[in-house]
């Protein structure tokens, strides 16, 4: 009995340890929180992480944008987008965006993100694209989350 109590306390300790939102890895089996399609290609993915909430994962940056219109993010939420070349997560305010009309993204937004101009330059798929600012993508308020000071 006493042990069970200790375990419950340990479990609640686990629950309470949530610092700054961190991105979670995407699996094939994740469904897009907006369009419900499987997130099959992590290079186009995005996600919204808020403390104490389940992460919301999107298969396309466009889905993140659309979902934010319908369900505004809580104040502490941070959005992440995948670097199209490497698949690594970048805080959405820090990413640079490109619209590539020739590239079909899972939901057809044609928008991809990169960590830096260097990463974009190294990505053959982005060459024919048009650079966008984060307000171009997310509207005047910009993406949820503060810039991580790059």
């Amino acid at each position: 009995m006493r042990r069970a109590v200790v375990l419950v306390i340990a479990a609640s300790a686990l629950l309470s340890c949530s610092g700054a939102p961190k991105p979670v890895a995407v699996s094939d089996s994740d469904a897009c929180a907006f369009c419900r399609m499987a997130v099959s290609d992590k290079h186009f993915a995005a996600e919204l992480v808020a403390p104490g909430e389940e992460p919301r994962i999107y298969d396309d940056i466009g889905c993140l944008v659309s979902d934010l219109v319908q369900h505004p993010a809580p104040g502490e939420a941070v959005a992440f987008v995948a670097d199209h070349r490497t698949g690594d997560w970048i805080a959405a305010p820090d990413a640079i965006y490109t619209r590539v009309p020739e590239l079909s993204t899972p939901m057809g937004s044609h928008i991809i993100a990169h960590m830096s101009p260097a990463s974009r330059d190294a990505d053959a798929a982005a060459r024919s694209g048009v650079p966008l600012s984060s307000t171009d993508v997310f509207g005047p308020a910009g993406p949820p989350g503060a810039s991580r000071g790059r």
Binding site: V8, L15, S27, G52, E53, E54
Partner: protein, 282 residues
């Protein structure tokens, strides 16, 4: 010295197994478990309203439910009955020049063997029906269910040992009552409480609470492991994904479940042994 202890363990285990094999309760359990397993295995095929869906996973999942319902309760009750001897039964045993923990451990092993034998009988009978009609794809899952049943037996015998220690003679009824309350708490109250708490929390916290509780509660842990083994990651829909993300993948989940269940076996047994070693047989 160690060899002698092992010999004593085997002796006690064999004695207890003989006793349990002759016990009406064990025999009743074996018959009921085999009967219900057989019923589950046979009815798995007429589940879908006469359309004859042959679904191994469904059948095996029903077997899991049967195990989760019967095995903890039986193990607790059998354990308490065997470990709370009548007045005068404990004294003559514990006055022998054998450390009490060894006697307890031996008894537990014997009980475990007898109950697992009864369960094996049930699984064997069910398996004969199941594998006469489905391929061998489900073999690993089926073995996993049987193993889960054995683990659950060990867990609840360990709890029975902890509940029973020192409760011989007239205190037997008290031990039995405590055992039943423990069963009720682990089988039902715990999950209900967790669900109630989760419904009040934010989604992330609620997820983590639910997942931790499923790992912590031995009945939930065995159910989760067995159903994942049978049905794969589809067993709990998106819940499986949350679980695997929390535990860092199937390996991590297996490890945590194994750890939780080992603790449930080792800690109560060890505590019971320690308490028995120090207590007065008044």
């Amino acid at each position: 010295m160690a060899g002698e202890s092992v010999r004593t363990l085997i002796l006690c285990a064999r004695q207890e197994m003989l006793l349990a094999a002759r016990s009406r309760w064990t025999q009743l359990f074996a018959v009921v478990f085999a009967g219900l397993s057989l019923a589950v295995a046979s009815s798995g095929y007429i589940l879908s309203g006469g359309s004859g869906l042959q679904d191994f996973a469904r059948t095996a999942a029903s077997l899991v439910q049967l195990v989760l319902l019967l095995v903890p309760l039986t193990s607790l009750v059998m354990g308490v009955l065997a470990l709370t001897p009548e007045r005068g039964g404990a004294e003559i045993l514990y006055a022998q020049p054998i450390a009490r923990p060894i006697l307890l451990l031996g008894t537990l092993i014997g009980l475990f063997e007898a109950l697992v034998a009864a369960e094996a009988l049930g699984f064997g009978v069910a398996g004969l029906v199941i594998f006469a009609r489905t391929g061998s794809d489900g073999l690993a899952g089926f073995a996993m269910v049987a193993a889960g049943s054995a683990v659950l037996t060990a867990v609840f015998l360990a709890i029975a040992a902890l509940v029973s220690v020192g409760q011989h003679g007239r205190k037997r009824v008290r031990a039995l009552a405590i055992a039943l309350v423990t069963w009720f708490a682990l089988a039902l109250l715990f999950d209900v409480a967790v669900l109630a708490a989760a419904s009040l929390l934010r989604s992330g916290h609620a997820s983590r609470l639910l997942i931790s509780s499923v790992l912590v509660n031995p009945i939930d842990a065995v159910r989760t492991a067995s159903l994942l083994a049978i049905e794969g990651t589809g067993a709990f829909g998106a819940g499986s994904l949350a679980l695997l993300r929390f535990t860092g993948g199937p390996g991590g989940a297996a490890l945590l479940i194994a750890l939780s269940l080992s603790l449930w076996i080792v800690v109560p047994t060890w505590t019971a042994m320690r308490r028995l070693a120090r207590m007065d047989i008044a």
